[in-house]
């Protein structure tokens, strides 16, 4: 292995490096200086994000266990952007008294999961994939329980770790059966030898459930609402965007490469689950009053929409999926960012009715949230519209008219509930709406990035065109 080969895994190595730097900083700073770790981590993460975009070689390592292609690098960069925004948005929350002495914990755990996701995305065999997956999951459970003195937060942590253990068990069972039928764990070997014998169908479905758990596809989504509600807002936003995005990325890669022989079958599996996911996610979202739960269910239905692109399976579909995740990062983090800011400033107000008349008191935040919800709902001219448009094109192109009809109907239903908070903020009258407050610099920067992202990613067609040049399909 030559020295240049390390360049291939520069995302992982850089993240490990900043994790070590933060650890050292944690050890060598006095208790009352710990706050300095926040800007340090954010700046380091920003550097890593920018370095990730620099051109670099592609290739494979460790006999094919690790693969770096342009598309995978792009995916990692997108995840880095998401993580960076979460970092920025967390800054003001980490300043509170409860969190002061565990600032670096938050960053270290997040970076560990990010390293896991990066390895997972670059994996070339099931072993590397599984290691990455676990590294990406376990620290999140700790993060969900970050708020030690809150019952709900602890409950979220426990629920996440238990249910993910169950899901990992089933997933591993599936992988072992794949190995049993094919005799190899390398993706390229498996993809050639895989077929549709009953055992292999079973192994695929087991593997699928593991991924469905991460992406929160119905009916493997039940943990989502409880964990999202219990965990601190910033962890929830990370979970709903970056973590989900990583799983979607690797899953879509594996479906069109490893499982290409049984594409007709997995498309059926996905067809059914996508339709159920969109519909049930929407139906649940309609009834939520807590905004975190509301966004949890909305993110479930979004997962259903994302699957449309995978089902298309074409080059366009893959590009649409990657593009949509990018859009989704900005939109969902924008929405979560506003909710977090309000929750922090108002002492934990997270219910829809608390937002009545918010536009009168906090117009900037209201407009940002409105823009984010518009983007999630897919209302032009925000980026979400283009994202949904490409996803729909991808399935329409392959002639899935029924699925498209279901998706369009669900978009209409989703419009209803995405506009509920907007109605609360702009139209509903309140005796005592949340008072005006000034957001601090970090929160503003985070939200400005999100708004800029929602607008620019939509209008600058070069971004989609570029992703499309990297894309591949069945």
């Amino acid at each position: 292995m030559r020295l240049e080969d390390f360049l291939l895994m520069r995302h992982e190595l850089l993240l490990t490096l900043i994790a070590i730097i933060i650890l050292i900083a944690e050890i060598f700073t006095d208790d009352f200086k710990k706050q300095g770790i926040r800007p340090l981590s954010i700046i380091l993460m920003a550097i890593v994000t920018i370095v990730g975009f620099l051109p670099a070689p592609t290739g494979t390592l460790f006999g094919g266990m690790y693969q770096a292609t342009d598309m995978r690098l792009m995916m990692k960069n997108i995840l880095n952007i998401g993580a960076l925004i979460v970092f920025i948005q967390s800054a003001s929350w980490l300043k509170s008294d409860d969190n002061q002495n565990k600032v670096s914990e938050f960053f270290l755990l997040l970076i560990s999961t990010l390293i896991g996701m990066n390895f997972m995305i670059s994996s070339g065999d099931f072993l590397m994939f599984y290691l990455g997956l676990e590294l990406a999951t376990i620290p999140i459970a700790a993060l969900a329980a970050y708020d030690r003195y809150s019952n709900k937060s602890s409950e979220a942590g426990i629920k996440l770790i238990l249910i993910s253990a169950l899901s990992s068990g089933i997933l591993l069972y599936g992988i072992s059966m794949i190995y049993g039928t094919v005799g190899s764990v390398y993706f390229d070997k498996v993809s050639v030898a895989y077929g549709a014998t009953p055992l292999q169908i079973m192994s695929f479905i087991f593997f699928f459930t593991g991924m469905a758990f991460k992406i929160s596809i119905v009916p493997f989504h039940l943990w989502t609402a409880d964990v999202y509600e219990g965990a601190p807002v910033n962890v929830t936003s990370y979970l709903s965007v970056v973590s989900k995005g990583a799983a979607v990325f690797i899953f879509s890669i594996m479906l069109v490469t490893v499982f290409q022989n049984i594409a007709a079958m997995w498309k059926d599996v996905m067809w059914i689950t996508a339709a159920i996911t969109m519909t049930l996610g929407n139906l649940f979202a309609m009834r939520q009053n807590n905004l975190k739960r509301f966004l949890a269910f909305s993110s479930i239905s979004q997962a259903g929409f994302i699957m449309l692109g995978i089902i298309g399976g074409s080059e366009l579909g893959m590009a649409a999926v990657v593009y949509y995740i990018l859009v989704y990062i900005f939109s969902n983090l924008g929405a979560f960012g506003v909710i977090a800011a309000i929750s922090n400033a108002s002492g934990g107000k997270e219910n829809m009715s608390d937002y009545d008349g918010l536009y009168k008191t906090n117009p900037a935040l209201s407009l940002t949230l409105t823009l984010a919800l518009f983007s999630l709902a897919g209302i032009p001219p925000v980026a979400g519209f283009f994202g949904k448009f490409f996803l729909f094109t991808a399935v329409a192109e392959k002639g899935y008219w029924w699925l498209l009809t279901i998706a369009v109907l669900n978009t209409i239903i989703s419009l209803y509930y995405y506009l509920l908070p907007v109605k609360a903020m702009f139209i509903n009258k309140a005796e005592t709406s949340i008072a005006y407050f000034k957001s601090d610099g970090w929160t503003k920067v985070g939200l400005i990035i999100c708004v800029a992202g929602m607008v620019i990613v939509g209008f600058a067609s070069v971004i989609f065109e570029y992703i499309r040049t990297l894309s591949f399909g069945l």
Partner: protein, 641 residues
């Protein structure tokens, strides 16, 4: 050689100014916003002049013919391999000419507004909107394709809407802005359908491909018939409908007089010099297509233009509001330009009408902006729009008086002012096309001189001893400087050699003056002026007597031929009662009923399934495992049989 791609900054600077003033304007002192906007437009004007100079005299000409240059281009949306929407900058003679017009007038109006709008509430909002308008208009002018033009077309409409309704506490201003928006939007619907048909037939949005007279695109669809005309003719007529809406051609003219509710500088910029000629610009831009594959459409345009110019001129003779007189005069002059395009041929001397139309567009922009700004100065001084409440103002407003007189002489076609040259070319072109149209335009020339000098004498002479509440005084320098500069432009613009610069095919041709037409047209102008002088210079009973003698004509003209009432009758009585009511009933009972039913069912289902989400982990795990097994069984069953 200069890099022409810097022309992209011409629209971008006003956009930047709009964002800056719009977002942060309330934090500055009002004057700062105004000065910033004005400086921005000043830079744009300098850039535009540079680009126009570079185009006309350095880079534009290849082998004696002006070519279209794409100075900047970026693909925005790839629809299919062939059809894509670009955003870019197209330079050709008419675009370069319009750059000069828009940036000059806009700069003058910015400067003027600093004085005129001084102390108004919403000063920075006004300048933000002005910048938005300048951005949209420049983007429209520079569009490389018809879709980009449409986008900016709508943006221009929005800025016009915002500016007409600037005094949003005044109900009449709100009503006028709505009227303008609805009427032009209605016309734009035709425009959009026209664009879709055109792009469907030709497979391109691109102006260069579309207007290439030796190319493929221009010949498509000429043979496919639909309701007695070729599809291409239909498409071009629909596109013209958009142009007629923006340029307020009869019968879509009803919004323009009401649009005078906006601040006067806005009327000067948008409703006299730039936006309302967008329709003329559109037809000029698509002229080769009109000429090659839709000659019938062109003929219709000529007649509509001719009729509008006469119709509006008659109305202008009886109006009492100073700005409305100017508004109808604008209609009449735009009618001239449309007519000139309609009667024009293509190439060399044949294209005289095309050249004349653009020539008149240019000179008209200068003198009409001057007239409006002068009217603004008058209104500023006496706080009224109504002519009857004015008189003898020449003593109080010397600069305004002189510049206004220059503008009136220009529009009346008195040589050597610029209006004479451009109007004369139009008359020549009309004469060679159709004698009736020529006669109409000849009469209009006389009417124009009459109503303009009726205005002039009433305002500046008339009742010399009139008493004002407080003595009118001349406007500040920021207002008089634009007046003087525009007066200079009005005098000398006629000497620009348009036959060498702006022609239908880019090649120059020899201009010549046809004395058989020029002399009578000057004479009728002078007759109009003398009649107006006799009637209005000193207060006397003649106007009333005339009005009594021509009782019905006067009444009809005063009431704008009752076109507004006709519209109200059609919309209120016929459309509302016989179409909207039944549709509303259907919507309320059938559509809403169905939707409510669906919503009810959705709600019910979402209520019923909430038991799933119990919060118990055991239950979650149970659902997880059973679903996995169910999927396994189902798919093994499905795929192994």
């Amino acid at each position: 050689m200069m890099d022409l791609s810097i022309s992209i900054w011409i629209p971008l600077i006003p956009l930047f100014m709009f964002l800056l003033i719009g977002l942060f304007g309330h934090r500055f002192k009002p004057l700062v916003s105004g000065v910033m906007g004005t400086i921005g437009l000043g830079v744009v004007a300098i850039l535009s002049y540079t680009i126009a100079y570079q185009y006309f005299f350095v880079q534009g000409k290849v082998d004696g013919v002006y070519h279209k240059i794409i100075a900047f281009n970026t693909v925005w949306l790839n629809l299919t391999d062939k059809l894509h929407i670009d955003l870019g900058v197209l330079l050709d003679p008419i675009a370069a000419m319009m750059l000069v017009v828009v940036s000059t007038v806009s700069f003058m109006v910015h400067l003027y507004s600093i004085g005129y709008m001084h102390g108004e509430k919403g000063f920075h909002r006004f300048f933000a909107f002005l910048s938005l308008f300048s951005f949209s208009m420049l983007g429209l002018v520079l569009a490389t394709n018809i879709f980009q033009m449409y986008i900016f077309w709508e943006l221009v409409g929005v800025s016009s809407f915002l500016l007409i309704g600037f005094y949003y506490t005044k109900p009449s201003a709100v009503a006028a802005s709505k009227k303008a928006f609805i009427v032009t939007r209605f016309a734009d619907l035709g425009f959009l359908i026209g664009i879709l048909i055109l792009s469907f037939i030709t497979g391109t949005f691109d102006f260069i491909t579309l207007t290439d007279t030796s190319g493929e695109a221009i010949r498509q669809g000429a043979t496919i018939g639909f309701l007695g005309m070729s599809v291409m003719t239909w498409a071009m007529l629909l596109i013209f409908m958009g142009g007629a809406g923006k340029s307020a051609m009869f019968p879509l003219h009803i919004w323009l007089p009401d649009a005078m509710e906006g601040p006067t500088p806005v009327s000067a910029l948008i409703h006299a010099a730039t936006m309302v000629v967008a329709g003329v610009y559109l037809v000029a831009r698509m002229f080769p297509v009109f000429h090659t594959s839709a000659p019938h459409a062109l003929e219709i345009i000529a007649w509509i233009g001719g009729f509008t110019s006469l119709f509006a001129a008659v109305i202008a003779c009886t109006q009492l509001d100073i700005k409305r007189v100017l508004a109808f005069s604008t209609l009449s002059q735009i009618g001239y330009m449309m007519l000139a395009l309609g009667v024009s041929g293509y190439g060399g001397e044949e294209g005289l009408g095309f050249m004349a139309s653009n020539f008149h567009l240019f000179t008209h922009a200068m003198f009409k902006a001057l007239l409006f700004l002068g009217a603004g100065a008058v209104i500023h001084a006496v706080h009224s729009n109504v002519m009857n409440e004015m008189g003898g103002l020449r003593k109080y407003l010397p600069i305004t008086h002189i510049t206004f007189l220059i503008a009136c002489l220009t529009i009346a076609g008195v040589p050597p002012f610029s209006g004479f040259w451009s109007k004369d070319e139009i008359l020549v072109a009309a004469f060679h096309f159709n004698k009736i149209l020529f006669a109409v335009e000849y009469a209009v020339a006389g009417l124009t001189a009459f109503y303009m000098f009726r205005l002039y004498f009433t305002v500046f002479w008339g009742k010399d001893d009139r008493h004002y509440h407080h003595t009118p005084h001349e406007s500040p320098l920021t207002m008089t400087i634009p007046l003087m500069l525009l007066a200079v432009a009005s005098i000398f613009a006629g000497f620009i050699p348009f036959t060498e610069l702006v022609t239908s095919d880019g090649a120059a041709f020899e201009p010549h003056i046809d004395y058989m037409i020029a002399v009578p047209s000057v004479l009728i102008g002078i007759v109009g002026i003398i009649v107006a002088m006799v009637m209005y210079r000193k207060e006397n009973g003649m106007p009333e007597k005339m009005a009594n003698n021509l009782k019905y004509l006067y009444k009809w003209s005063f009431n704008k031929f009752y076109i507004d009432e006709v519209y109200m009758f059609i919309t209120k009585k016929i459309i509302f009662n016989y179409i909207s009511r039944p549709v509303a009933w259907f919507d309320r009972h059938i559509i809403d009923g169905t939707m409510n039913g669906i919503a009810g069912v959705t709600n019910l289902v979402s209520f019923e399934i909430r038991g799933f989400q119990s919060g118990q982990l055991q239950k979650y795990a149970f659902v997880f495992v059973t679903s996995a097994l169910a999927l396994v069984l189902a798919f093994i069953y499905l795929w192994t049989n």
